[in-house]
């Protein structure tokens, strides 16, 4: 029993203090307090290095029975109260660290005896090497992993095409990747953008084609080209505005009106749309509304000479 304290000098004053604690217990408390910073948490709880969590908890409960101040009811403790509290705090810390997975693992490594530390380091390296190897092997064998690789490839290619402005190709690749891996967020976000841009490009192509027919007066072909443009991008304002004029030229006033409305809706701040609306309204006999639409067009774009001309005529006819 006394061997435990070999080489340790007790504070005589503390041993003689007038308190209600027997001498053996005093020695135990003084000794533990002196070792607080020296001992590892394992030593503090009196358990072997890397003892399981349950052992740490059980040892803690036993220690608490000695070192918790509440275990000395109605006793005079003097300086021992503070000593007990210091030891209690430290053993509680020991229990907390050794029973919490996140803090325990680094502590186990940090306090490992030299031969254990070497073995652990070796095992860790071995583990890392093995898991690397395992990943590579799985990649070769597993169709699932092959698929993962294929998805990655498609997303990369899609992104590349997107950056080059080949939106249609990008949309195709990304859509394929998304079907293979519906949870792929990167593909999902990019594919929507690519599709939108691809559609806009297509609509522009058709619009240009329609314009060419329009200027040479082939209104039927122009109208169907504009329709194609609008089916790719229903918000293509100019396509709608010109479709209205082409339809008007062809005498399709009702259709012209619906195109004009589509144009105004898609581009409420586009003069061309309002001008088309004015023309359609004039053709259908609503002169007052036609005038308002044309005024709106001029307000949005004061340089719109054709609209001014129209408006002048309309004013005259109104006066007349």
């Amino acid at each position: 029993m006394t061997d435990r304290y070999r080489g340790f000098t007790f504070d005589e004053a503390a041993l003689r203090e007038d308190v209600d604690i027997d001498v053996d217990r005093r020695r135990e408390i003084l000794f533990a307090e002196a070792q607080l910073q020296k001992w590892t948490l394992w030593e503090l709880l009196g358990i072997p290095w890397n003892a399981p969590v349950e052992a740490a908890k059980a040892a803690y409960i036993e220690k608490v029975k000695v070192f918790h101040p509440d275990r000395y009811p109605a006793k005079r403790l003097g300086s021992y109260r503070a000593r007990l509290e210091r030891v209690f705090r430290r053993i509680t810390e020991a229990r907390d660290v050794l029973s919490d997975e996140g803090r325990r693992v680094p502590y186990v490594r940090q306090t490992a005896p030299p031969e254990q530390a070497a073995a652990m380091e070796a095992r860790k390296l071995e583990d890392e090497r093995r898991s690397e190897e395992r990943r590579a092997r799985l990649g070769r064998q597993n169709p699932l992993l092959q698929r993962v690789g294929r998805v990655k490839e498609l997303v990369a290619r899609g992104k590349h095409a997107f950056e080059e402005g080949k939106f249609l190709q990008a949309a195709n690749d990304l859509q394929l990747a998304l079907t293979m891996d519906p949870g792929n967020i990167e593909a999902a976000t990019l594919v929507a953008e690519a599709k939108r841009k691809a559609a806009a490009l297509k609509a522009n192509d058709w619009f240009d084609k329609g314009q060419q027919f329009y200027v040479i007066g082939r209104m039927g072909e122009a109208l169907s080209a504009f329709r194609e443009a609008l089916s790719s991008d229903s918000t293509h304002v100019r396509a709608a505005a010109y479709a209205a004029r082409a339809a008007l030229e062809l005498g399709e006033v009702a259709e012209a009106r619906s195109f004009a409305e589509q144009a105004v809706k898609a581009g409420p701040r586009v003069a061309l749309a309002h001008e088309s609306m004015g023309l359609v309204l004039e053709a259908s006999g609503s002169k007052r509304e036609a005038r308002e639409a044309l005024e709106k067009a001029i307000e949005l774009d004061p340089r719109l000479e054709s609209a001014k001309e129209r408006l002048k005529k309309l004013r005259w006819s109104f006066l007349g």
């Binding site: 059980a58 029975k65 509440d70 109605a74």
Partner: protein, 622 residues
């Protein structure tokens, strides 16, 4: 055993309080002088200026709502202007005002402004007096329970209340821990236990690892503003709304007396629905119907189903808090070995069912939900003063319910002691001066869960002053934050270089200042003097009464022999015995008034006995 001075455990509840003790190794509840186990936590000042406590205060609450303080526990240690206090002001019939520093809450009671600890102290003093009547000797030491989720201010104020009541509070312990203690006492069990405590005003959940007689708390959670009163309020709101609809928009909340009757009826109907599927709420003549019209009556049928619908979200909140607490402790519901239900609200079938569904097991019914907390407190009180039998020494290892930390630059909250840390505990923090010759540092200490400082509870501001002058960064002050076994925060500071203790001034606390506490205790001393006078009066009456009793006893043999020969007054002896028993009871309760009442009876009995013993004619009416 009885040589030791008696100690008590007190469950100071939102609606009811209970006092208990350990006698001959068995924990038991002490009945109050009215013979009941539960004492309503209500304090009132009657119209004649008399102070009333407990059942007496409750009985007159309807007719004296403005001077009847209930649910003081919801306000104790709270900051004036806090959300909780603002909410409480909406529905409490008595008036709240700010304290002199503008920090804490006071109530207007009988024309005086009274602090909340003083209100709680009146209840504690009543329980103390009940215990003294029961023991027949003075009681000075107690363990008082608080909800586990109470913060430092609330605990400190509860401890102040104990001091004002003339009690040495040995320890403040958490209600769920206390319940677990009573549950596990003497059973030598080893398992994980969850205590689900839904009381009148607060909800607490605690997880304990019980290893024989060591009760190790591994996690606590809760909501200090969720309890039975919220359930009552749902019923009240429902009734108020229905009443307004049926009576052309009459708002019952405008009438304080009606509101109080409504509150009582709501609470009663809730209790009834724990056993019955449906209950009638009948309140005749609730409010006047306006000029020229008769009074309006309330008549409603409330079913259990409707109650469950009205309070569905409250029950869900309880389960959500339970789930979070379990997850924080790294436990799954299946690892729990026992679930203990505590608090009157757990009698509601829907609550018990929700607990059962969550844990997948039947909760324990082995403990009495109203008494268990006080019993645990008594066990702990006993363990703190009396040597325990070997191997059965009870030891509580409780934890802090909330993070303790400081406000740092940018208004952020920096945790110093994380929640669920076993107490007692301490942590030191180093402060360095940031200006040349800086003489003071102001530290705001907070408790709570938010990253933003202002969203947490401010415990107080500590000003370290008289710092020795030096270049900035040269002076370091080591500040130690300690949490005691009571869960109360202490702060001390030391100059690192010189080792000198640094002075600390505490401001902006939510409770009583030390000066105020002193003033209250002084006032109490005056009252004690008054009480001494009443003690003298009591002693006088007692001695007079006992003299009469002795004389009656002395005449007894003569009376008995006289009666053997007589056909009359056969029951005289029996009548005398009844009177004497009542006198003894009044003396035990130290009730001078009751002795005075009995004195007349004693006098008449004595006259009768004298007449009988002398063999003379019976006095008229005898």
């Amino acid at each position: 055993m009885s040589e030791l001075e008696p100690v008590i455990g007190i469950d100071l509840g939102t609606t009811n309080s209970v006092v208990a003790t350990v006698r001959d190794g068995v924990p038991r509840v002490i009945p109050n002088r009215g013979g009941l186990l539960l004492t309503p936590s209500i304090v009132a000042v009657a119209k004649n200026g008399k102070r009333l406590v407990g059942a007496l205060a409750k009985r007159q609450a309807i007719t004296n709502a403005e001077n009847t303080v209930f649910a003081a526990k919801r306000l104790i240690g709270r900051r004036w202007g806090s959300k909780e206090v603002e909410d409480a002001r909406q529905f409490l019939p008595y008036q709240l005002v700010a304290g002199p520093e503008g920090n804490d809450v006071r109530v207007q009671l009988g024309g005086r402004t009274v602090s909340i600890p003083e209100i709680s102290a009146v209840v504690l003093a009543e329980l103390k007096a009940d215990a003294e009547a029961w023991f027949g000797r003075p009681v000075r030491k107690a363990v008082v329970t608080v909800p586990a989720y109470f913060n430092d201010g609330q605990r400190q104020s509860t401890k102040d209340a104990g001091r004002i009541a003339g009690l040495e509070v040995l320890r403040i312990i958490n209600e769920p821990t206390s319940a677990a203690l009573a549950y596990g006492f003497g059973k030598q069990m080893e398992k994980k236990v969850v205590v689900f405590d839904l009381g009148g005003g607060t909800f607490d959940v605690s997880i304990l690892d019980i290893g024989k007689s060591v009760y190790d708390v591994v996690g606590v959670g809760g909501d200090t503003y969720l309890g039975g009163e919220d359930f009552d309020r749902r019923i009240m709101d429902w009734l108020t709304f229905a009443f307004a609809k049926e009576n052309g928009g009459v708002d019952l909340r405008q009438d304080k007396m009606a509101l109080q009757r409504l509150k009582d009826a709501s609470e009663k109907s809730k209790c009834d629905l724990s056993t019955a599927p449906s209950t009638a709420i009948h309140l005749p003549f609730l409010v006047s119907g306006g000029e020229g019209k008769g009074a309006l009556h309330l008549d409603k049928q409330l079913t259990r189903e409707k109650l469950e619908e009205l309070t569905k979200d409250l029950v869900e909140r309880c389960i959500a808090v339970t789930d979070k607490t379990l997850r924080d402790a790294g436990l799954r519901a299946a690892q729990v070995g026992e679930v203990i239900l505590v608090g009157g609200m757990t009698r509601m079938p829907r609550v018990a069912r929700a607990v059962r569904d969550y844990f997948g097991r039947e909760p324990s019914r082995g403990v009495h939900p109203d008494e268990v907390v006080a019993l645990g407190a008594a066990i702990q009180a006993h363990a703190l003063v009396a040597p325990q039998p070997k191997g059965e020494e009870v030891l509580l290892l409780d934890v802090t319910p909330q993070n303790l930390g400081l406000m740092v630059v940018g208004g952020y909250f920096n945790t110093v002691i994380p929640r669920n840390t076993t107490v007692p505990t301490s942590q030191t923090h180093l402060f360095t001066t940031v200006q040349d010759n800086q003489t003071s540092v102001r530290i705001a200490v907070l408790q709570g869960e938010s990253e933003k400082a202002i969203e947490n509870e401010l415990l107080g501001e500590f000003i370290l002053d008289g710092i020795r002058p030096g270049r900035r960064g040269d002076v370091s002050i080591e500040v130690t934050f300690a949490i005691s076994a009571d869960g109360i925060v202490g702060v001390s500071a030391r100059d690192v270089a010189t080792g000198a203790e640094q002075s600390i001034t505490v401001t902006a606390t939510s409770g009583l200042t030390e000066d105020e506490l002193k003033r209250i205790l002084d006032e109490q001393r005056d009252e004690l003097l008054e009480r001494k006078q009443t003690t003298r009066e009591f002693e006088l009456r007692r001695d007079r009464a006992m003299a009469l009793v002795r004389e009656i006893d002395g005449l007894r043999p003569a009376v008995e022999s006289a009666l053997e020969k007589s056909r009359f007054g056969k029951d005289a002896i029996q009548k005398a015995e009844t009177v004497i028993a009542r006198v003894r009871q009044a003396i035990a309760a130290r009730d001078a008034g009751a002795i005075e009442v009995e004195e007349e009876q004693l006098d008449r009995t004595l006259q009768l006995f004298r007449a009988l013993a002398a063999g003379g004619p019976m006095p008229a009416g005898g």
